[in-house]
């Protein structure tokens, strides 16, 4: 008689293997759930490991297509989390689990209808989202194979969009990341001497086509398109970032990231918005986009604020159709031109007729009226002798 059935979000790594063993030891039946979010991983080896430790079932789900989400594709880890969590809930319901156990940001799950297994001993003291076994377990004791990590003194987190590196030698923000750390991109200094030219087409803000203008290769399936951009970004060393960032819990953290395809897409998307998005719409989108990034970064997907902002962001993307030409070269993404059927750019503005366009005198009137407020303020300061 077990204490109940737990669905454990399992990675195949040391941490979740220890948790698996510990949960079984505590008297739970444990089933494992692995999400394929694009990380380079041997899922079958992980399945065998889980079963060997004592899992009664292992579910491996390819949720990469679910991760391709408009407008937010740069926030790799953050965006993957709600998708992973939603799928875990779905499976838990289907399989009749009473509990779920996960190391993704916990707030997401607390708000769900499942009861969360959470025990203080699993709580890491330096991060907000990871769980490690602290108290009595050691991998050796449980017979769990440990990866050799002396050669890679940092930790990583990988998915379809990106990989992040942190901790270990990276903890000193003044240490330059070693050249052999980077995994998803070629060193720009070793990248091809010949640039690559692409055309990326968007429909309502979503990429629908990538064409290699050199060899004519075309991708239109969302997942294939993204994987192809990852391939080209890797080849040309695109998407490396090294920053000191602010974590949700208030600590600063140094992280290095590689986001090859996402970086290309983001640059092209923003460029197209320059052509097809109204100025004031863009100002709104910019400020709402910053807030949305914070929401996702902090794990607040299942919230009222995300729903409200998402409604506005989706509205802002209605007319973002068009094609952007992009050059990749030794780490850089350069815009080379853009067209849009919904362009707001008017080459012939000066030839507009009087009724609809504007006359040379119009800008004089415009400037004078804009100056009324400024003049009142300056006059006031002059009366006070302040200018």
């Amino acid at each position: 008689m077990t204490k109940g059935k737990v669905l454990l979000a399992y990675s195949g790594g040391l941490d979740t293997s220890c948790i698996l063993a510990w949960l079984i030891e505590q008297g739970y039946e444990v089933q494992c759930y692995m999400a394929n979010i694009g990380q380079e991983e041997d899922f079958e080896a992980a399945r065998e490991k889980a079963l060997k430790i004592g899992a009664t079932a292992v579910y491996i789900e390819d949720i990469r297509p679910n991760c391709l989400y408009e407008g937010v594709y740069l926030l790799g880890t953050s965006l993957a989390r709600p998708v992973i969590a939603a799928k875990q809930m779905e499976i838990a319901k289907r399989e009749g689990c009473q509990f779920v156990f996960t190391v993704v940001p916990l707030s997401m799950l607390l708000i769900q209808r499942f009861k969360l297994l959470l025990h203080g001993e699993f709580q890491n003291s330096t991060t907000d989202s990871k769980v490690v076994v602290i108290y009595l377990l050691t991998p050796a004791e449980k017979g769990i194979p440990v990866q050799q990590t002396a050669a890679k003194p940092w930790s990583t987190d990988e998915n379809l969009y990106h990989i992040s590196y942190e901790a270990g030698i990276l903890e000193d923000p003044n240490v330059t990341p070693p050249v052999d750390m980077w995994k998803l991109t070629t060193n720009p200094e070793k990248a091809p001497d010949t640039p690559e030219h692409l055309a990326i087409t968007f429909k309502a803000g979503i990429p629908v086509k990538v064409e290699n203008l050199g060899d004519g290769h075309v991708e239109t399936d969302p997942l294939d398109l993204f994987l192809y951009l990852n391939h080209l970004g890797r080849k040309h060393g695109v998407g490396r970032v090294d920053i000191v960032e602010n974590r949700f819990i208030g600590i600063k953290s140094r992280g290095c990231y590689e986001t090859p395809g996402g970086t290309i897409l983001r640059a092209a998307h923003v460029d197209l918005e320059g052509l097809a998005m109204d100025r004031e719409a863009r100002r709104l989108r910019d400020s709402l986009g910053v807030r949305l990034s914070e929401i996702l970064y902090n794990g607040y997907w299942f919230t009222a604020e995300r729903e409200i902002i998402q409604a506005a962001v989706t509205e802002s993307q209605k007319y973002i159709d068009g094609t952007v030409r992009v050059k990749l070269y030794k780490g850089s993404v350069t815009m080379e031109g853009r067209t849009s059927p919904n362009s707001l750019y008017d080459q012939d503005l000066s030839s507009m007729d009087i009724a609809g366009g504007f006359h040379p005198l119009d800008s004089e009137g415009f400037i004078k009226i804009q100056s009324i407020r400024l003049k009142a303020y300056t006059d006031m300061k002059s009366r006070l002798g302040k200018n």
Copy 2:
């Protein structure tokens, strides 16, 4: 007997030469004012041209040091304008001019104590800031030498920070800028195969030292430091931008920019803020910075809103001291490390004692309390059958 003395902001180019001739023809005495804001120009040739057309005096002022302003050095043209205008006012007062005439955004001057000479015929119909002679003047009629422009079918605006290109063939946003257009930077594809490594030191957000980590070259004078970064940025092809932007008057405009030194400084400055600026301070600085950019871009320097934001931005820079190591390579600026005496990054956070630090259980409490609000919302939706 003239109608009065005008101080004309003179560039030596066609537009202001025509205006000079026209003002004289209208019966004004005209003195010319040229600001050296770092543009590559033959000031003496311009002086001679002005005198030949009929100016009674020409004042050439080196205001480059005044243009080096903390926090806003990327907005080259926008920032130069108030500096140029303020100096013009100063000279006009000193020389007893009754009028000033300028083509920089007019709102700045309207708010000043001088009466502005402005006549509709000088108003260009497609831009908010340029003036051209439309009606009866032609350069040939007035004997003004015209630059050959068939070879350079675009217009430029240059200063210490950057050069901008627009109009002409660039009006089609899908036309890739020709390789020979770019003037201030080497083509990244022709840039050196060997990266350059720098260390840039800031004090209260202001760059105070640049050291070339390869050859040991050091600059500490603000102007020299900036010119040196321009030199290195040029060499490595750093700072090219090609965008469709939104002009103040509501039109979209395609502009290309080169900002070699400014791009390096901006990247290093933002990186240092990651280390030495508090998270919430950074959020404020980010949103205020966007607003400040708009204010400068639109020419609203002499305003209440600029004064208020400047007070906040200056406060935010108080503790931004430190050194950032930067690599330049074929168009890219890459961060390689950063240190700060005011770093808010704590490598040893996990070893903090109980009284001052936090215990593993703390983050459990933190997460549970963060979830109270989320749980209330999700429970409400569940009652409605919405999730």
Copy 3:
């Protein structure tokens, strides 16, 4: 043979009567359009006046129900304008007019497919939205009856929501409005000594029922409900405002307003949001609401920015259901209680079980983690001797 057919937005007042006469004089056929937006006006008398001056048709449209719009009902004049304009366009298309003429903020119409008749002589120099006949017309010359205005030395603008007073003796912001100026509300000092108690019910942010808790009177039709609140607001002197505000063109303007029903609704709506809207949703709604008010106040209804914000605001109102009890008394609206089926308020929070609720230790953890960032900043300042 006329120059074409114009649809003139006609008020029956002096200004538009002069315009009507002038347009006919200029050779246009003129049809008149009057919108019933709730103003107290003799529409039939206005129709006769228009026909007498020479209009070939007069269309009177009751568009009051169109004006009842969720979330924005306090911005009376601003909101009425796009509704009026949209109906004018509809009629112009239906009646085959080539031109429309209106004095509502012009930007709304310029963006429409109609050609706008606009002539400088009709442009008033002190306001952004009104048009008066300046040059040669006088009412007497055209035989237009003029209202006696010596007794009411200010101008008004009235609709279903409110009336505004400005200009005339109100131009001095230190002049207290005379007691007999106010038209839509009783002087609070003369209002009943007995308060009135109401219950207002909302569904998705929209008022769906008003119940008078004293006499049991109930209204549920949107228009009737609003008219009833106007009646009660008037009776109890609710909704007077006297402010110096900032006009779109940059001048300051002193305006007095009466908004009886709208003031009651707004107070109740905001109160209900306190109970049923999530904290972060509310923060978003607050900042977006301010921006939406600016958009409407300045006449930018038919814009991308309004569409984006509207999407977010609508999303934010999804769950705003419930009933607010309100007391009206001598100019005040006082909340007396509120309930909501979607309340996020949890009276029994302290009795939550451990798994879903929070333990006394949780808030200690919460506070310690919140303090990490603050401690880092204070420690840094201490190192610098700044505190």
Copy 4:
């Protein structure tokens, strides 16, 4: 030999009396600190009680003048906290205490140089700021006199600015507060039938004079001025609020407040800003003010973000000089007029000369240029058949 000397922030109430007893029992020497922030309290009785329980010293400090702070005087409790905390730190240093103990929001103190005595058992589970003795203490056991609270089934927090009521019968947000709950203001229905007329004068945003226009009474001392406004606000029933608000920890809470003087000052201050503050300055001030309120409400006084915003807010108040006339009547504060030497309001704008003012044609040009962007968007939608 004690464990050390503690400076306890003491209120004389049950909670802090229990804490005092418990700390002594734990082996600490305890000194008590009481801040006079304007609450109606018998400080000498409290002093005797503390000494009787075992405190070795009691310091009573009148910090009311320190609480009078520009721009933020409505956030009574929030603002009093940092002032109280700063004074406690000052006394603790002066008296050589190793520890401080307080129930004001803890984050403020954690960031200070003192070590905080904090023990989980003191943490209340339902609020973020109060501490109660949970485990073994009972008032009776310790011989501490308990106030009879059956007659007042709610808790209060009072200072110079306001009093708050919460908990008890108020926990049901649909319960109307009983008439005898309100302590600082007369019931509006019992307030005088004759209004009171005041003139309030500000200098750089700070109130410097209150004149009763009826009896000529004048106050200019900051504290006296505030106390006088409290007196008048009380008399006329001004400043009652009943809301459901969002607490820092994410729960909703129903609170009732009385803020008599603060409500009058706030209304007059905002009104004066309408006259003397530039439009864009006001927009900035509005959004920064909301953020500042959140910062104060959540107890983040000693933070970088507060310092930055304070710099901007102070800058915004530079020119806010002038006098506002106000009427108090049965719960309402009504503006009756305002003047300012720095007024930005221009009564004679229409008579401005051409060079400095604006011509009727100017607003036509202004509107046409404002419409360029709108026309581009509408044209694009028309091409798509969307309008």
